[in-house]
Amino acid sequence: AQSVTQLDSHVSVSEGTPVLLRCNYSSSYSPSLFWYVQHPNKGLQLLLKYTSAATLVKGINGFEAEFKKSETSFHLTKPSAHMSDAAEYFCVVSEPAGNKLTFGGGTRVLVKP
């Protein structure tokens, strides 16, 4: 069985300051991990993916995430928040065959001017 816990349901940051979204996972397998973003009334967009090739993963729009096996964590960061980053972010773990995604509860990000 696999599960994902996003430690913060809401995060508020000021524009230009760093963003940190925390995610812990549990998996019986060597996991595939993803971060998706959902803007209001939109579908989900893939931000980045962990493929076991490198523990520090760079994604789109300046986001990156670090896989730490010892801590079973996959936290998402961005050095400088932009107003357009206001959205809901989902940490996701995939079964090895990729046929089922398990989503975290989501973190809603508010960016203040």
Partner: protein, 114 residues
């Protein structure tokens, strides 16, 4: 490259009716997935179709069903609608032969049951 498309955008039904939602995957993708995003319940896996067969389903009653057509598009049917079926239904597609199997999502169909 066209993304995953879903229709209709919005659907309003009354309790007890049937709803049909449609999804067209990215060209070349053979797998289609359905998810339900209900208020307060988060995103939950519903169904997975690949090569026309149902491969896996989540913890949903049998009144949630679907199929995948030879062109890989898919249909989700929800019978005997209940008020708690009101949700955003997301479809995703992927190419299983290309790891790590990231799924690409459509914009969703918002189903409202009154």
């Amino acid at each position: 490259e066209a993304g995953v498309t879903q229709s209709p955008t919005h659907l309003i039904k009354t309790r007890g009716q049937q709803a049909t939602l449609r999804c067209s995957p990215i060209s070349g993708h053979t797998s289609v997935y359905w998810y339900q995003q209900a208020l307060g319940l988060g995103l939950q896996f519903l169904l997975w179709y690949d090569e026309g067969e149902e491969r896996n389903r989540g913890n949903f009653p049998p009144r949630f069903s679907g199929r995948q057509f030879p062109n890989y598009s898919s249909e989700l049917n929800v019978n005997a609608l209940e008020l708690e079926d009101s949700a955003l239904y997301l479809c995703a597609s992927s190419l299983l032969r290309q790891g790590p199997y990231e799924q690409y999502f459509g914009p969703g169909t918002r189903l409202t049951v009154t």
